[in-house]
Symmetry: C5
Subunit: 354 residues, 5 copies
C-alpha cells in the first residue's frame, strides 16, 4: 500500500491479452496446491505439476486449485489453456494493480479481490491481489506470495467443520472471499488502535511528527477504502449471477458478505471522521492558545508603551523643565503613571478583554 506513483501500471503498446507481470515479484517459484473434497472424501496435494491438474478437474466433488506466484507468463498461459480461460483474464491475473471486480464469462466467473495484511514493523498495510476463477466443480485461485489468510478455511475443510463439505464450488469461492473480508476486520482493529493512539497524542503532545503520522494514517485509510470500496459492487454483481454457476442457496451468504463489506467501509469512515475531528479540535485549540499569548502581549505593550513615553519625557535634558525641580514632581509623575495604567486596565476590563 506504499503509494508508488511512478510504477509502470501497464505495458503500453503491447497487444491486448499479452501476458506480462506487473507488480513486485514476491517469490521465486510458482506452486500449485490442490484440495479436492466431497461429503466423504478429501485429497490434499502440494506442489503438483500443471499437467496433473486435469485429473482432479474431472474428478467428483469440489477441487480448489491454489496457485502461488503470478510472475511467470508461460505457467499462467498453461493454466489458462487447461481451464479454457480468456486471455484478458490471464492478463488481469498477472497485473497486481487491478481494482477489485467481478466478471462473468461463458462457463466461469472471474473475481479480483485485495487481501490485506498489517505489517507491524513498518506500521503499514500490505496489499496482495487474489484472483478467483469459479467454474463448475472447481475454484482456481491466484495469489502473489505464500502468506495468506486461508489457513482456518483449509482447516475447516480438512476437519469437515461447518457446512463446507456438503456444498458446491460456489460456496468454496464464497468462503475464500469471506476469509479475506473477515481479515479486513483484523486490519481495522490495528488501525483503530493507531487512530486512538494518535488521537491521544494530538491532544497531549502535538508535535510535527504526530502530524506526519496522521497524514500517513489518513493515506492508509484512503488506500484501504480504495481496496475495499469496489468490492461492494463486485459482490452485488455476484448476487445477480444466475444458476447453475451460483446456486440459489448461496444468496443469503452473499448478502451477508455484502453487509460485512459495508460494515468495514462504515468503520473506515468512522476512523476517518475521528481523525479529522481530532485535527480540527487540535487546530482550534492551537489557534486559541496563540491568541491568548498574543492578548497578553497586547495588554502588556498597550499599558507600558504610554508609561515609557512619560518616563522618556522626564528623561529629556531641557534646561527649563519646571516639573523636574519641583519637590513633589517625582511622586506626582509616578502617580500619573499609575493612573494611566489603572485607567487602561479598567477600560480593558469594561471591554471584557481579560
Amino acid at each position: 500500500m506504499e503509494l508508488d506513483l511512478t510504477k509502470p501500471s501497464k505495458k503500453a503498446g503491447a497487444s491486448p491479452g499479452t501476458l506480462a507481470h506487473v507488480g513486485r515479484r514476491r517469490m521465486d517459484d510458482i506452486r500449485i496446491n490442490i484440495i479436492t473434497y466431497g461429503e466423504q472424501h478429501l485429497v490434499e496435494k502440494r506442489c503438483i505439476a500443471i499437467g496433473a491438474c486435469k485429473a482432479f478437474l474431472e474428478g467428483p466433488g469440489v477441487a480448489w486449485f491454489s496457485v502461488t506466484g503470478i510472475h511467470d507468463a508461460g505457467h499462467i498461459e498453461d493454466i489458462g489453456d487447461l481451464f479454457h480461460l480468456h486471455p484478458l483474464v490471464l492478463e488481469d491475473v498477472m497485473q497486481s494493480e487491478q481494482r477489485p471486480k467481478m466478471e462473468e464469462f461463458d462457463g466461469y466467473i472471474f473475481v479480483v479481490l485485495k487481501m490485506l495484511f498489517f505489517d507491524k514493523e513498518k506500521a503499514g498495510v500490505r496489499v496482495e491481489q487474489v484472483s478467483l476463477i469459479l467454474g463448475p466443480g472447481y475454484v482456481l485461485s491466484f495469489q502473489e506470495s505464500e502468506d495468506d489468510v486461508f489457513e482456518p478455511l483449509r482447516e475447516r475443510i480438512r476437519m469437515g467443520k461447518g457446512r463446507i463439505r456438503n456444498m458446491g464450488s460456489d460456496y468454496l469461492a464464497y468462503a475464500i472471499m469471506d476469509s479475506i473480508v473477515d481479515h479486513y476486520f483484523v486490519i481495522l482493529e490495528e488501525m483503530g488502535e493507531a487512530v486512538e493512539a494518535l488521537e491521544e497524542a494530538i491532544v497531549s503532545d502535538p508535535k510535527t511528527k504526530t502530524m506526519h503520522a496522521i497524514q500517513k494514517l489518513k493515506r492508509q485509510l484512503i488506500s484501504f477504502r480504495r481496496a475495499v470500496w469496489p468490492l461492494r459492487e463486485a459482490i452485488s454483481s455476484l448476487q445477480q449471477v444466475a444458476e447453475p454457476l451460483i446456486s440459489r442457496d448461496l444468496s443469503a451468504f452473499l448478502r451477508d458478505l455484502h453487509d460485512h463489506t459495508i460494515q468495514v467501509l462504515d468503520t473506515e469512515e468512522t476512523f476517518h471522521n475521528t481523525i479529522s475531528e481530532a485535527l480540527d479540535l487540535y487546530m482550534s485549540s492551537l489557534s486559541k492558545r496563540m491568541s491568548q499569548v498574543a492578548q497578553v502581549l497586547t495588554m502588556v505593550a498597550t499599558i507600558f508603551i504610554p508609561l515609557t513615553f512619560i518616563a522618556g519625557v522626564y528623561g529629556m535634558n531641557f534646561k527649563y523643565m519646571p516639573e523636574l525641580a519641583h519637590r513633589w514632581g517625582y511622586p506626582a509623575c509616578l502617580l500619573l503613571m499609575l493612573a494611566v495604567a489603572v485607567g487602561m486596565l479598567l477600560y480593558f476590563r469594561r471591554k471584557h478583554w481579560f
Copy 2:
C-alpha cells in the same frame, strides 16, 4: 454509543454462520416471554422454556416471543431450530454491531433495528440492538437487556386498545418498530435541550469545556444518524414485500413509519446545522474581538512610538544641543509631540480605522 474503536467487530477465521456473541454482555440469563392474543383471547407467560414455545407457535391468533439476552449460542441455536431460521440470521442476532436492515427469507422476514436510550448520568445515548423475525402468525424479537420501550405496546395488547387485537402478526411487527421509532423523538427532545443549552453557553461563556461538549454532542448526533439512516431503506424494502407475510392493509402504516423516520432524520439535521451555525458565529465573533484588541494595540503603539523617539532624542547627552538650552524648548517639544499625535489620529480617522 461510546465509540469503542478497538472492539473486535467480528470473529475472523470462523465458519460463516458460526454463532458467537459480539458486543457487551448486558445480563446473565436468557429469558423468553410470550404474549399470544386474538380478538377474544389473551395469554401472557414469562420465562418459558424453549420447548414450551412450540405449542404457542401452533396455536391460533398472534404470538409474540420476546427473547431477552443474546449471548448464549446454545440457546439461540435451539430457538433457530424451532423456528427454522437460517444460520446467518442467528449469527446476525448475536452480533450487536449490525447496521439496521431488513432481509426476506423463505417464510419469514428478518429486521434489525437500534433501540436508543438517553442516559441522563453520562449525558449520552445508549444503543441496543433489536432483531425481529416476522413469520406467519408470530413475531420473534431479540433484545440485549431487560430495558425496553415496549411497555406501552404490551399494555395496549393487554387492554385491547387500538386495532392491534384485530390485526395479524405483521401489524405486531409494525407496532414494535413504531414503538422504537417513536422513542427516537424522545431522544431528539433530550438532544434538542442539550443543543439549546450549548448554543447559549457558546455565546455567553465560550470555554474550552464548551468546545469539548460540542464535539461530544456532534459525535452523538453522527452516531444517532448512523443508527437511524439505514432504517429508512429497511422500511422502504418492507413496503415492497408481497403478501401473505405483509398484508396490503399495512402499507399505509409502513408509509407512516417511513415518514416518521425521515422526520427524525430531518430534525437531527437541523440540530447539526444549529450547532455548526453557533460555532461559526462564535468563531467569527471571537476573531472580531481579537481584531479589535489588536487594533487598539496598533493605534496606541503607532502613536506612542514616534513620541517616545522624540523624547529619546532630547534625552541624549550631547554637549552641544542648542534646543536644550532654549527657554521655550520644553514647551515646543511637548507641542511637537501633541502635533504628531493629533496628526496621526486624524490620519487614522480619515482612513476609518476607529
Copy 3:
C-alpha cells in the same frame, strides 16, 4: 418558523393512529365553511355542523369543505368517519409538524402543504400547515387558523371568473395549492428586500447586529426551503395519479405548478448565494483593512525602533563617551537617524510594501 428545538414532535408510546394535537393552538373553536358550486349554481355556508356536511357531499357539483382549527380530536374523528378517512390521515392532519407530502388512498388523495405568511412585526416568516383531501366531487381542507391566502380563490368561485366553475374537484384542489405556491412569491419578495437591505448594510456599515440579522435571515431561508422542497416531489407524485381522481386535463396545470415550485426554489437559492457572497466580500474586505492597519504599525514600528535605540545609546551616562563632547555629534547623530529611516523606507519601497 421559529426554530423550537424542544417541541414534542410526536406523542411517544401512543397507538399509531391515535389522535392528538401537536403544535401551537392558534384558535379556540373549530369551524367548517362550505362552498358548493357547479356551472350554474353556487351555495356558500359558514360554520355548519358536521352532520350537515353529508347533504352537500352527496349533492351535485363540487363541494369545498374548509375546516379551520385542528386541535379537537373528537371533531376531527367525526369528520374522518363522515369522509371514511384512514386514522393515520387524521393523525397527520392534527400534527402541524408534517413535511409536505402526497399520499394516495383508496378513493381519495391526501396532500400536506405549508402556507407561509410574512410577519412584518417580527420580520419573520410564519408557517401554517394546510391538509387537503381530494375525493370524488369534494375537497376537504384543514387549516390551523382563520388567516389564509384563499380569499382571491373564493372570490373567483363566487364571480365565476376563470374556468373553475366548469371543472371538477381536482381543479379545485389544484387551485388551492396554486394559491399557496403563488403566495410563496410574495414571501420571496419580502425576503428579497431583506436580502438587499442586508447586502447594503454589510458593505456600508458592518456591525455585529448586521451579522446576527444575516444569521437569522439565513435560518429563515433554510426553513423556507425545508417547507417548499418536499412539495416538489409531492406535486410530481400527483402528476402520476391516474384517472378518475385526477383528470387528464389537469396535467398541464400540475406541470405549471411544478415549474412554479422549482422557480421558487431557484429564487431562494439565489438569495442564499447572494448573502453568502456578500458575507465573503465583507470578510475579505475586513481582513484586507485589518492587514492595512497592521502594515502601518509594522512600518512605523520597524522604522522607529532602531532610531529610538540610537537615541537611547546617546542617552547613556557613561563618563567617557567621546561623541557626546564632539561639536558636531548631535547633528551627526540626527543625520545617522535620518539615513537609517530613509534606508528602511527605500528597502520597503523596493519590496513593494507600500
Copy 4:
C-alpha cells in the same frame, strides 16, 4: 441579467392562465413577421395582422411566424386563439422570467429558451426570453425586442443555403434553437476575454476594484449557467418526442445541439474554475507577502528591544553606578549590544527564520 431581487416574479392571487406581462417592457408595438417557404417557393412579409396569419398557416410548406413584443395580453390571446394554444402556454410566454423548458401538448410542442447578448457598454450579459411553438407545418416564435440572433438563419432560408428549404417545421425549430446556442459561444468568447483580463489584473495589480469586477463576473457566470443549464434537459426531452411532430431524421441534429449545450456548460465551468484558482493564488500570495512583512518587523523588534533596554539601563541616573565611570565602560557596553544582536541573528539563522 441584472439581479433584481425585488421584482414581482408572478402576480399572486390571479387565476392560473391569467395573462399578465411580467418583465421589463422592451418595445412599444407588437409586430408579426412571417416567412413561408418550401423547396421551390419563398414568401416573406413584415408586420402582418393577426387575422392574416390564418391563410399562411393553412398554406403549403413551412411557415415561421415571428412575434416581437410580449407585453400586450389582448394580442397574445388572439394569437393563442388562432393557434389553439393552452392558456398556461400564453401565460408562460408573457412572463419573461421562465426557466428554459420543453413541454409537449396535444398537437404542438412548447419550448422556452434564453437568448443572450453581450452588452459592451455595461460589460454585462443581457438575457431575452424566446418562446417557440412547434406545430405541424409551422413554428411560432415570441421574442421580447427586435434584437435577435436569427438574421443569418433568415438569410439561409432566403438564399436556400443548406438543407433548410427541404426540411419540415421541426428542422426550422431546431435551426432557431441552434442559432441561439451558437450565439452562446460568442458570449463565452467575450467572457473568456474578461476572465483572462481579470486573471492578469489580479496578479499584476490586485486592487479592491478588481475584486469587485471578479465578483461581478462570477455572478454573470452563475446567471449564464442558470440560463443554459435547464436547456440541456429540455433538449434531452425533445429527443424523446415521437413522430410526427419531430421526425426521425432530426435526431442526429438534436444530439448535436445537446452536445453543444454540454460544451457550453463545460467552458463556463472552466472559466469558473480559472477565476477561483486565480483568486486562490492571489489570496495565498497576499498572505505570504503579509507574513514576510510581519517577519521583518518581528526580527527588527526582537533584536532592538533588548538593545534598547541595555541603553535604558545605562541611561539611569543612579549616583553609584560603577560601570559608568569606568574608562572602557562605553565600548564594553557597545560590544555587549553587538554580541546580543549577533547572538540573536545566529539563533534566527539556525531556526531558518530568514
Copy 5:
C-alpha cells in the same frame, strides 16, 4: 492542453453541418494511408488519393483508412461522400475541441477520443483529437498531425502478432482505442514523476515558483481528467451496441478497455489528492513556523517592555528622586528587573507557552 480561453470554439451563425476547421492547423497536406488485411493477406499504401479508397473499401478483409490532417473542408467532404457520412459527423471531425463521445448512426459508429502526448520541453501535455468511423469491414480514422501512438499496432498488424489478423473491423477500432488508452498510462507516469518532484520540492524548499508549478500541474490534471472522463461513458455506450457492427466476442475486450479507463481516472485522482495533501501539509507547517516566530517576539517584547519602563523611570531627571542617591539603588533596581523577568518567565512556563 494550453488553456486558450478566447478560442473561437464554434463558428456562430453558420448552417448546422457546415464544414469549417476549428483548432490549430498542425500540418499542411492531408494524407490518407491505408492498411488492408485478412488472415492471409496484407496490403499497405501511403498517401493514396481519395478516389482510390473505393476499391479497398469493397475488397475482402479489414481496411483501415487513416486520414492525417483535418483542416481542408473539401477533402473531408469528399471522404464523407465516399463513406456516406452524416454532415454533422464531418462537422465534428473538423472541430478539434469535441468532447470524447460515441454516436451510433445507420450503418456505422462514430467515436471521438483524445490522444495525449507529453511534451518534455514545455513539461506539458499536448492533446490531439482522433475521430473513428467504424463501418462493416473498415475503420476510418482522422488525426490532426503525423504524430501518433499507433506504430506498435501497425507493427502488430504487419507481423500478424496477436489475434488482430483473425478479427473484424470492430476489433481494429477497439485496438486503436486501446492504443490511445494505453498511452494514457505513459502520460500518467510522467505526471507521477512531476507530482513526486513537486511533493519533495514543497517540503524541502517551498518557493513561490513551486506554487506556480503546482498550480500548473493541477490544471494539467484537470485537463487530463476532462479528456478522459467522458470516454468512460462512450465506451460504456459502445458495449451496448448490438450486432452486426460490434460482435459479441468483443465484449470482454471492451469491458477491459472500460476497466483501464477507470484505472486511469483513479490514478489521476490519487495524484490530485497527493498534491492537495502536500499543499495542506506545507500550509500548516508554514503557519506553524510563522506562529513560532511570532511567539518568540511576543515573549521577548513582553519581558523587555516592563524592564525598559523601569529603566526609563530611573532615567528621569527629577531633582528629588531619593532612590537615585541611595548607595544600593542601582543593584536593587537591577534585582527588581531580574525579579520581574523571572516572574514573567515562570508565568509563561506555567501557562505552557514555551
